[in-house]
Symmetry: C2
């Protein structure tokens, strides 16, 4: 008997890459994708013809089924500040009420994997951030619906593990970018690329010296593939996954302005509660996933993403953009 797998947010940026990898597995019999297309896009899945895949267009918190799954991968959530700040209640429901719904659907002995975030560290006072760092999140602030619902979902799942013994894999992802990001996503790399290809004016908020660790999606999904479905791993998380090369937002803008003819940079007022720095301590990741490394330099990753954005913007995809405010993710 093959495995039954459920992926929430499977039409999203990272989700659709995970789906591609899952479909390479010969031990998988059935793959259910739950997505409400809030930030996910149908075109992220249109290349898939595999009969094992079934798409359910539904909010994860409202999804109902009598089936039980061997593996559940919970990715449903907006990940970009303008999107979650516009609908904070819905963000909390997707993450936490979604997880409460999903824990009822795990086969006995089954596994739940969850994409948490480096945002659980808030505006960190130490760098790089190890998993043991408890973070500095303002739980009443304008970014809190995302940060706190990720934290509380980690808590829910860890407590389910402690009290009910569920098999768990939690990752904390650091700024992922690459093909299939929505052009209107609103975070730095995608924003700069969209702007470079349209208005030509790259908007940098604050002094641009806030740093991020930009992880190219192929590298990140390589790590997730190993971590989420290798049975021999006996570590529930949380596990930092990202690229530990730290680069300022301004440097990314400059690089893109250099490679796209006619693009220039415009400095704008700072965004409230934009973290000043973010860099993963990958010590544990290298222990748990030996041999894995982020291999794609940001220069190469940005070039690849630029090509993808060029094709996508040419074809006129994506709409339903939030307010045009950009909040560096």
């Amino acid at each position: 008997m093959g495995k039954k797998v459920l992926v929430t947010g499977g039409a999203g940026f990272i989700g659709s890459h995970i789906v591609d990898r899952l479909l390479n597995r010969s031990d998988m019999e059935k793959l259910i994708i739950v997505d409400n297309f809030w930030t996910g896009l149908k075109q992220n899945l249109t290349h898939i013809k595999d009969q094992r895949m079934h798409l359910e267009t539904c909010d994860v918190e409202n999804f109902q089924t009598s089936e039980k799954f061997d593996e559940i991968i919970h990715l449903a959530s907006p990940a970009s500040p303008p999107w979650y700040m516009r609908e904070p209640v819905r963000t909390i429901k997707a993450n936490l009420v979604g997880a409460l719904n999903l824990i009822e659907m795990i086969q006995p002995g089954g596994r739940i994997s969850f994409a948490s975030t480096s945002e659980v560290y808030g505006d960190p006072l130490i760098t790089p951030q190890p998993e043991s760092y408890r973070g500095q999140v303002d739980c009443t602030g304008p970014r809190s619906s995302y940060d706190e619902s990720k934290r509380c979902t980690e808590s829910l799942l860890f407590e389910m593990r402690r009290t009910a013994g569920i098999d768990l894999r939690i990752v904390r992802l650091f700024n992922v970018y690459g093909p299939r990001t929505r052009p209107d996503d609103g975070r730095a790399v995608s924003n700069f690329l969209s702007q470079a290809l349209t208005t030509g004016e790259l908007t940098v908020y604050g002094d641009g010296l806030q740093s991020r660790s930009w992880g190219y999606v192929d590298d990140i999904v390589d790590a997730l593939e190993r971590y989420f479905w290798l049975d021999q791993i006996d570590y529930p998380g949380p596990l930092n996954v990202g690229n530990d090369r730290e680069i300022s937002v301004l440097d990314v803008a400059k690089f893109i302005a250099d490679i796209v003819p006619g693009a220039s940079i415009k400095m704008c007022p700072p965004i409230p509660q934009d973290p000043t720095n973010r860099r993963p301590d990958l010590t544990l990741c290298r222990q748990i996933l030996p041999g894995w490394e982020a291999k794609i330099s940001y220069e190469e990753g940005v070039r690849r993403t630029l090509e993808w954005f060029r094709d996508t913007l040419m074809s006129g995809a994506s709409s339903d953009a939030p307010d045009p405010v950009r909040l560096a993710g």
Copy 2:
């Protein structure tokens, strides 16, 4: 037209005191109490004969009504570590899914008040703790269901205020004790009193030097009464409410061993993730609630609580205790 008020957890320790105060209000027409008697007790309400009060025995997250309320006071949650650690999923549901349910029941222009906790500060690195301190909570730890669901509920309500303009009052309560605490509550004062009156052996965990700020319930409810229902206050919270006299757990045990004949202290191994210190910075509280002070010394409060426990234990009330582990709250 008088006010319609909803109190969740109204049969609980603090909730039932709030209900007593609410019934003194002549502007209140109808009071609905929602309580599932998980940690609340029917006997906390049996003295009330007021026709305006209606009790709904129901989980707050499942409560349904077509009524809308002018004021909602959300207190439903266990507050003692052994209780919430035994049922973490239920704890998250009571706080957060409860709040998600309640925000649909507010009259336009109505107010929601929420009892958050000093546990949002985790094991604090600064003392006393001002409301601006972002805390040090382990979001994967054994106490996290309570700490993180309180944090995430604060986030939900603040984001509802930011995006939908709801009227909000959030308090962070520091160790409250007094009459109507369950004798099997499991936190330090009630535990010591129960032990002093039964086995005679007061169990202190670790070195007993972990400090707390013990707030006598009458003082605390005086503050809540002002903050939750005075219209002229224009501050949504979070507001620390407590007694800022910091006393070690061991000193409380010694005091009780002194006043109860035959009682003695037994030192036990430490409890995981028991915060080392906890003391409110009350600067903001004194500005927002001028004239309010915690007036009852802990010596006086403990004596009053002892009398109440003596009466209660004599009458044989309360059962359904969790595992006997004590976790200093």
